[in-house]
């Protein structure tokens, strides 16, 4: 394959001489050119990866949540917790009663490496025992430690004495 823009001085020179030079100095150019070609192809591959994520996110189905009773108000004392799973049995969550009328619920999976978080009553925060990641009880935001994102929040609805989980806010 000839090099783009390369002017041949002799029409008798075969094309392969461009890529398979007998001189080491010229060969160094060939090696660098091929290496840069490889790097650009790698860049193209990563761009395709980004496009793939974009296409997948466009066609991804929006998750739908069905309301599900998770507890009754009488079951949990103020400052108490209850563990439940929502929206699937593989999604552990933690429900906390902060005051007589205030309940909050979060995913129990730490956003760092998925250890189970627990409620630290004295500090009034959610703590992950694995790497000391702490989350705010107000909104699940990260207070300290390695977790990169807030805890997903489970939205709740109270119907009489029943507490229903109605969705998950990421």
């Amino acid at each position: 394959m000839g090099v783009r823009g390369l002017k041949r001085t002799s029409t008798q020179d075969p094309v392969w001489r461009d890529e398979f030079s007998a001189q080491s100095a010229t060969e160094r150019y060939v090696t660098r050119r091929q290496f840069s070609k490889f790097l650009v192809l790698t860049s193209l591959g990563m761009f395709v990866g980004n496009l793939w994520i974009l296409v997948r996110s466009w066609f991804a189905a929006k998750p739908s949540f069905t309301p599900q009773p998770v507890s009754t108000a009488a079951e949990i004392p103020v400052g108490g917790v209850k563990l439940f799973s929502y929206p699937t049995p593989d999604d552990p969550c933690i429900l906390i009663r902060r005051s007589t009328d205030t309940f909050v619920a979060y995913s129990q999976k730490c956003t760092h490496l998925s250890c189970a978080v627990y409620y630290a009553r004295e500090q009034n925060r959610l703590e992950c025992p694995c790497h000391e990641g702490y989350f705010s009880i107000e909104d699940g935001s990260v207070l300290q430690g390695p977790p990169p994102r807030p805890l997903p929040r489970v939205t709740l609805k109270r119907e009489g004495n029943d507490i229903l989980a109605t969705g998950v806010e990421i």
Partner: protein
């Protein structure tokens, strides 16, 4: 342009491409990470940025090709025909 300066320019361009690639790799992993975590906001800007990085890499590649071609065409008449070991 001399061969030595040409090699230096090409090495510089390759180093720049390598730095851009590292940024692009980080971008891809960060985008994937946030996509899998359910966040779709950074996906479009990340794809655009990745495309710009690809364009920059392609531009540097063309630059390398041009330097390479210039030097080779400048040296070709004497270097090719003076070497006794060059296969004909």
């Amino acid at each position: 342009m001399t061969r030595g300066r040409g090699i230096t320019a090409i090495d510089g361009a390759i180093a720049l491409i390598a730095i851009l690639l590292i940024v692009q790799m980080w971008l891809l992993t960060a985008t994937l990470e946030s996509y899998l975590a359910g966040h779709s906001e950074p996906i479009v800007p990340a794809a655009i940025l990745s495309g710009l990085i690809l364009a920059a890499c392609a531009g540097l590649f063309l630059f390398i090709q041009r330097i390479d071609a210039n030097i080779r065409s400048a040296e070709e008449p004497d270097s090719r025909h003076s070497s006794p070991s060059a296969p004909r």
